[in-house]
């Protein structure tokens, strides 16, 4: 028997043996589908439970701590400022003091101002618009509804 015939016979015997052992009707698709579904479930489980992966859970913990610290540093001053007095805010007392300073400065302006045609020096009256001008030039709040406080009588020569 020549080499080719032997090879051919052996090929046929091998193929027949394989066909005898593994039927063509054998279907692995249902089992494969189950494995795919199981793998999909495991993937979802791993995504929702990162504790099973130590490195990822450590990274997630560090990120969470940094996020919390950032939020605290942003929100804490605003929250505390709501309940604690703010030293930089303009309080009524400070407003009153600033008004007093403005009034005294306006007085100085009046003293150096040119007398009006109807001289107030003679009548002892002061033109209120001078106070307003002086206060406004210093950026201080002046109420025009109330008449300014009468200034002390200037000393006439």
């Amino acid at each position: 028997m020549d080499k080719q015939t032997k090879e051919q016979r052996f090929r046929q015997a091998l193929a027949d043996y394989a066909a005898d052992e593994v039927s063509a009707s054998r279907d692995i698709w249902p089992a494969l589908q189950r494995r795919l579904q199981q793998r999909h479930r495991n993937t979802v489980l791993n995504l929702t439970m990162p504790m099973q992966r130590p490195r990822w859970s450590a990274l997630a913990a560090v990120t969470a701590v940094l996020l919390i610290l950032g939020l605290l540093s942003y929100a804490l001053p605003a929250t505390l400022g709501r309940y604690l007095p703010d030293n930089n805010a303009i309080s009524p007392a400070r407003t009153y003091a600033a008004t007093l300073v403005a009034t005294s400065e306006a007085t100085a302006v009046v003293r150096t101002a040119t007398p009006l045609p109807d001289s107030p020096r003679r009548s002892g009256q002061v033109n209120p618009s001078l106070n307003v001008q002086a206060a406004t030039s210093h950026g201080l709040p002046i109420s025009l509804d109330e008449p300014p406080t009468p200034l002390p009588q200037p000393l006439l020569p």
Partner: protein, 200 residues
């Protein structure tokens, strides 16, 4: 081989291979089902011939299909799918068989009994006609190491050349020839009625 052809015919009627690959590349799991229907029988037979274990062979083939599912985007759709897939199956089966054989003795009692069933006094026709053919082939394959068994399966079942085998097994052509030569010598000892005398 007739039943395999029938299975392929049914699967082809259901879905073409290129269509199945295209659908799988688009994320459609139905494409994988088409590929399974087309190639599972031959893949199972290759894996079984190498591993000599039905459960292990099925596990190997399932894992190979799962790898196809994962890496189908890397596959060049212009090339034939079957050789690429059979290479994966043969490599995986070889690794699985080698792993298992590290824990099991190579020659078992069953194999020794099976080989005794083949009588060297019978003529070749008588052997081919008898039911002992399968037992003789099985015993021969059982007595070969996994690497030599894989070489025999790739050459005589998948009809691969030395070059193709070296590409499929990721080893040198000389290594493939050496494995085949040693496997043939062993087979001549185990199947003297078939292969004795002249070189196969």
């Amino acid at each position: 081989m007739a039943d395999y052809t029938l299975a392929v015919g049914v699967a082809t009627a259901y879905m073409d291979e290129s269509e199945a690959i295209s659908r799988l590349q688009q994320g459609d799991i139905g494409g994988l089902e088409g590929l399974v229907l087309l190639h599972q029988t031959k893949a199972l037979r290759v894996a079984f011939l190498i591993t000599r274990d039905h459960a292990l062979a099925e596990d190997v083939v399932q894992s190979a299909f799962l790898r196809v599912y994962d890496r189908i985007h890397q596959f060049d759709a212009t090339r034939p799918f079957a050789p690429w897939f059979m290479r994966c199956v043969a490599n995986d089966a070889l690794k699985a068989a080698a792993r298992r054989d590290r824990h099991l003795p190579l020659e078992t009692e069953d194999a020794a009994q099976s080989i005794e069933l083949t009588s060297p006094d019978l003529s070749l026709d008588e052997i081919l006609e008898s039911s002992e053919v399968s037992a003789a082939v099985a015993a021969t394959l059982d007595r070969l190491p996994p690497a030599q068994r894989t070489a025999i399966v790739l050459r005589y079942y998948l009809d691969m050349s030395d070059t193709e085998m070296s590409e499929r097994l990721d080893c040198a052509t000389g290594t493939v020839r050496w494995r085949l030569s040693v496997a043939r010598q062993r087979m001549r000892q185990l199947l003297p009625a078939w292969l004795g005398g002249d070189e196969m």
